[in-house]
Amino acid sequence: MSEAAIPSIAELRRAIATGRRTVDEALDLQREAFGRGAALHHCVVEHAHASQPVARAPLSGIAMAHKDVFHTGLRAAGQGRPSGSQAGAPPAAASAALQRLAAQGASYLGALAMAEFACGATAENPHFVAPLNPLDPAAAVGGSSSGSAVAVAAGLCRASLGTDTAGSVRIPASTCGVVGFKPGPGAIDARGVSPLAPSLDTVGVIARSVSDAAHVFAALQPDEAPLAQCLASPEGIEQALSRHRPWRVASALDQPDLRDDVAQRLDRFESRATSRAVAWRRIALRGLEPLSCLAQVVLHVEAALTHAHSARHALDSLAPITQAIVLPGWAVPAAWYRHAREARAAWRDAFVAAHLAQADVLLLPSLPRGVPDARAVTTTADGFDPRELVALHRYHAFANYLGLPALSFPVGTDARGRPVCIQALAAPGNEAGLLAFGHQFAATASPLLH
């Protein structure tokens, strides 16, 4: 990981609270890092004008850039399109999430690169130069929140908002060795965010550490939410995350499609982590195939509706991966989609009962075959291997269908020195518990985050 000039959000808040830094000094440091990194990493599509933050708010002095799906009020989201998705249209009102962050004192640095219309599990976007993975330029950068992952991993900012419809926060975070947090549906207000498949879309956070992600998530919660109240003091979030809990863990890390060196790393994590839980059970993961199928049905149909105008009038201008996601939706039998929507609650209840009734978290691999080479997952490259592309989102999309909160974080490196990440899932509504688990178990697991 490149130089990390920006201290954690908690450290910045402590420095400001104790007078060791002023808000302006903290912002200057972050803007300088952002400007320096933007020139190197091809992950920034728009620099925001500096504005005065709300004074004495929890995130005063914290600056972030976000995936280019958030309307800013001055500029409509570009959505990875060559001239912006709504060129010529008046800018829409600022997204609820950006408004909330601004009210909490956060400053906005700019918009970050992404796959076109948030389609695809990689950074591939024919309209822009692809951002390189800061850990290894030959390694893939996942998508669709590719710019967010690169910006955080390269030290341009500590955290960034993205969106996750079938893994688009967790996949890029996992390829770049940082934290990806997808809360449950609606946990972060999605008004003013460009949609892809509305019943699967979730606003999430990519961050350098679980603590950073928790600060941003807490700031986006209603004032009365317990985690939001922890923001009142600079120590509050980390105290809440660190509180001892009798963890009950269901581990389905041992999957048949793991690459050997990934399996060894996950084994090592498990052998170290087991003693820190009061109950650690290895269980079989069930329902993955039907749930992945249902998630895909919903994705195709809703993406087709969202981008109906583009499909009818500008199909040739769409990236190949966007075409591949949007077009099948026009021919999905109605019975498939109706079943997928109507059966969702029953599937969620059954899945939670089977995997999370006696556990606080369910552990899965994030990328079972590790971080692939960029050329293996770039559809136009000579070395393209569709199996590698499929492996990127194998363990992610079903969590969106079920509406479960999910957190991915690195636990070490593979034989090539690339990050190996796990994914933890929790029952609906247990975002705070999930973040606490990640904070406590990532802290000793990964040199990548420190």
């Binding site: 269980i283 069930r286 039907p290 075409q323 077009l327 026009w330 039998p333 498939w336 089977a354």
Partner: protein, 65 residues
């Protein structure tokens, strides 16, 4: 060689796109047909009542390894 499972989906996708006024070249339509052909056994099975069996499997006693 012709894939008998793919062939009806190729026709179905071509007609669906045409009827919706979407002018996709044959390569794109074929790719969409492959996607639906791959999903069909599971998606049709679930929609046609196979969900109950899948849920029963999910609800069975947890398998501890």
């Amino acid at each position: 060689m012709t894939d008998p499972a793919l062939e009806p989906w190729t026709t179905w996708v071509a007609l669906s796109l045409q009827l919706h006024g979407i002018h996709a070249d044959p390569g794109l339509a074929l790719r969409a047909a492959r996607t639906l052909s791959r999903l069909a056994p599971m998606a049709s099975g679930l929609a046609a009542g196979g969900m109950a069996a899948s849920l029963d499997e999910l609800r069975a006693e947890p398998v501890h390894e």
